[in-house]
Symmetry: C2
Subunit: 193 residues, 2 copies
DNA sequence: AGTTTTCATTGACAATTATCAATGCTATTT
DNA sequence: AAATAGCATTGATAATTGTCAATGAAAACT
């Protein structure tokens, strides 16, 4: 149990058997069927979720009812509404499963306990957030500085595995585009050889 | 010396006199005149900079020669090319001073020493990156889900102090717009009362 | 004080992207 | 196996944003 989780952890920090035991005691497994919610806007987000298996997304819904995808999460990634998790304010994002999922949940008290008692856990969290920050900054840079086709190429080269498992209209949403526009961009790129 | 820096640190974590002394020994002060570079694209970024006084920006230059602003940093903020800093790859961003600045530099070896020897430093870094991540996610959400006017309103309400110290065309760049478009958006908003 | 840069604004026009509506295909459900 | 829902594509048109050029004002420099 928790194979992917501990593999991810061990690849970043050294853990003693004792560390592992303590961490294990703070985790909760959870399965989710396709389309099921993990978190709904308005509820307080009480966990950080690690993806053992499957794909999820976080998103908001704007005034017109359009879904805007903030993040995808595949095996080995973390997903949460961090702001809600840390402040206990109502979540502004929804999170649901794009495929059937197996998750590892870290509750708020578990998270706080682990930060206090297992220094390596804090290190791991720091490294995770740092990578997430860098990735987000790259995404933002791509949005404000590249033409559409380059942005799509960029996306496909960085996340080919997302492309294969997520419908195109969600990728359009992630890129801040309509599905029609993305379809046309792709057509242009294909025709250009 | 380093007043703003230690104020920021102490507001997030408890430090002993000893912690403070160790940290102090790892810092380097640096002054920068308006328009001076702190980092140029292609060089390896060898520090994280904390702003004691002044304003800086990080940005890329696209194929057409247009500057695209990634981040502003005011008093109390950190700025760096994190990816370059962590991997020692050449920087993809430029950083320069918008006003005369006083900075506190944390070199790579200082950073690593402090992470190893002062647990509270790691905690502070974790908290800083976490806030930066959340802020970036909000910025991204705003870009992909709001109409231009709302985005500008959003920006002005979150960062009124940036607005006052940075020329408008840089704010346009930060928002991924041309200066002309931002000027027109503002006009529309003002005329609408 | 005078010169030079930098900056914000405006206009005319072009390019890009969104919207709305329709179609056919595929996967899922019953 | 049939019915339904989800999905990608296309066309016509509208809305948004960018580009290029010009102007005047303010700020920085000498």
């Amino acid at each position: 149990m928790y194979e992917v989780f501990f593999q991810a952890l061990k690849s970043k920090v050294d853990l003693t058997e004792n560390d592992i035991a303590i961490i294990k005691a703070h985790l909760t497994p959870k399965k989710l069927r396709k389309k099921q919610y993990l978190l709904q806007e308005g509820d307080v987000c009480k966990f950080v979720a690690f993806v053992e298996k499957g794909v999820l997304r976080s998103y908001t819904i704007d005034e017109k009812g359009t879904e805007r995808i903030i993040q995808f999460a595949l095996e080995g990634w973390l997903i949460s509404d961090l702001y809600s998790f840390l402040t206990a304010e109502p979540a502004t994002y929804n999170i649901d499963a794009i495929e059937d999922c197996e998750l590892v949940l870290i509750s708020k008290t578990a998270h706080e306990d682990l930060l206090r008692t297992v220094p390596k856990y804090e290190t791991w969290i720091r490294l995770q957030i740092t990578s997430a920050y860098i990735a987000l900054q790259k995404r933002l840079t791509s949005i404000i500085s590249l033409a559409l086709e380059e942005r799509y190429e960029n996306f496909t080269s960085i996340y080919p595995h997302i492309l294969q498992r997520v419908p195109q209209h969600m990728i359009a949403s992630y890129m801040g585009l309509t599905p029609e526009t993305l379809s046309r961009v792709r057509k242009k790129m294909i025709s250009r050889k």
